[in-house]
Amino acid sequence: MDTVQLIIDNKPIVVKKGITILEAAASAGIHIPTLCHMKLEDLNIENKPGGCRICVVEVKGRRNLAPACCTEVADGMEINSHSIRVINARQTVLELILSDHPADCLICAKSGKCDLQDLAHNMGIREIHYKGEQSTYREDTSPAIIRDVDKCIMCRRCEMMCNEVQTVGVLSAINRGFTAVVAPAFEMNLDHSVCTYCGQCVAVCPTGALTEVDQTSHVIKALSDPTKTVVVQTAPAVRAALGEMFGMEPGTLVTGKLVAALRRLGFDYVFDTDFAADLTIMEEGTELLNRLTRFLNGDKDVNLPILTSCCPAWVKFFEHQFPQLKDIPSTARSPQQMFGSIAKSYFAEKMKISREDLVVVSIMPCVAKKYECGRDEFKVNGNPDVDYAITTRELAGLITLANINFNRLPDEEFDLPLGESSGAGVIFGTTGGVIEAAVRTAYELHTKKPLPRIDFTELRGMDGIRQATIDFGGFPLNIGIAHGLGNARRLLEKIESGESEFHAIEIMSCPGGCIGGGGQPYHHGDVEVLKKRQKAIYREDSMKKIRKSHENPYIIQLYEEYLGKPMSEKAHHLLHTAYFDRT
């Protein structure tokens, strides 16, 4: 391997050729502050416009300061990362950014989690010497995301996520000079655009310019209404990340504390979306087997591959961008919506609570779920199956608000019947998990034989597009997996061009799957956080007594008592949906 020798802050080091000063410094334990730069190693995600100019350093022999994030190391380079000249420049640039930024930190949604605020703190900014006009724009509130672009610092991370990673193309830099900002075309509202609400813009925004719509106040109101029975469901990825909000190591599983916290918040029943994930597998798995059987019997019109439909951003994505494929995805509703539907029918009937008096709240790693529960097809007479979807971050806010000392909570168990789940339900939270869960069930239903092994490691990992062939009792089942909508697009294009032949494809909109969702604790550009969450999810799976959806006794009970069998008429009515051409 080629190496170069350089001196940074008087320390001689040897580093790999081709890396940046920023990376070289990090390897020597020197932290150079950054703002616009973000790199998610292994996911091929990098934002490097070199625009904020916070990371400038002094390189001997150069006329100007060099941005550490963009400047490649060279042999013999002498770098000073904190000379007076550098510090003065950094502070001045930061002051300039702050001079065009609303100083409402105390009441900003991002306060305490804001990269800009941290930087101002670390750089010891006590006065802004260059005051002047601030740029102002109209605030835009959509069903899931709020754009308050007065707070935009033009780091371009959201633009990069929206265009390069997700290929949704809603956001672009517009105007130029002082009025330049990132916005949708014609500065239209997001809800008029093709935005999928994947929330990856929110996940990477370093300031309060992009945040989720906060619905905690609605939840508090419902909880304090004595006439309402309030049930809560929590998505699988939440338990692998919520602990971070309370200072725990990324990847700490907090399932039991999560349940305890929700109970202390006053929810009447604490249920698990994992239960609905098991239900999804029953329906989607059956649908896959039906299509597969027809295919094997020579039916040429059968829609294969089947595409998963758990992810609301993905659903909106293909409705806008691939409407010609709208008959291919599974018609199964997402676990969130299956849960809502079952809660407001089966459970409500069982408990003799009227639909109107039952409030379903979901805790989601996702901001698109806010949009999903508002879709008309998921309402009965205007009453939504899921009333409120709040993010992992919002839940942490609620817990703090209620003076609950999360770290000292005991572990508690979910309520029954909608709180029981299999390990298959848990792994819905990561890329590859849904399809693995489906395989576990579909294999046994198809071959009528027990699985020789439960872990399908060939389906796991972080590569953006993965494929594997599973022996389905002699039939080679071709499986495709994509996470990130750009990867999904590439996979779909391969299918459309006939380049690849798959039988089943799992798609999740967010890099890493739900563990990297737009509603999760901010990863601040550290991909290790996502990897640790993924490991935690598989750990939870491996600890479960039941690891296949069709073995969940309460799922069996639900079919026996209420739904009949998968894909029955009742199941169809309650658990399936249709898609729309949104072009």
Binding site: N163, V168, G169, S172, A183, A185, H192, S193
Partner: protein
Amino acid sequence: MPKIKLAESTVKIIKDVCARFNNSEGELINVLHTVQHKLGYLPAEVQEVIAKELNTSVAKVYGVVTFYSYFSMIPKGEFPISICMGTACYVRGAEQVLSEFKRQLKVEVGESTSDGKFSLNCLRCVGACGLAPVVMIGEKVFGRVAPTQVKQIIAEYREGCSSEKAKSA
């Protein structure tokens, strides 16, 4: 997104232009130039058609349109007035000429008069520095314009004759 309410014939013009540039995203600026030349300006609906034809996002098209001062989303006046604000014109009094145009037309830079006759803009150096300060109305160049001439220049356009007389001293 607002539904496209352009006339069929307009849509065809745009599509033809895009096709002429092989519907290639890299030709976006050439496409915008040609379409603006044909239609006079680039309203939102036009940008949407272009985005679709070039298989790019309308946000990117809008991002480009708003970056370059040559592109306009509002129709220009019947007589678009451009004041050169290049340095040579500036030191020879272009600012006073501009403020006189503003005063006489009662519009700000970037606006059109309510009757749609005149629009007022600044531009950077037409390269006729020998004639500074320079004003362009349409394709016509007026050189060595003094603030006192402004009223007369406007009046002549108002009266409908494209003035030969008011031309450079």
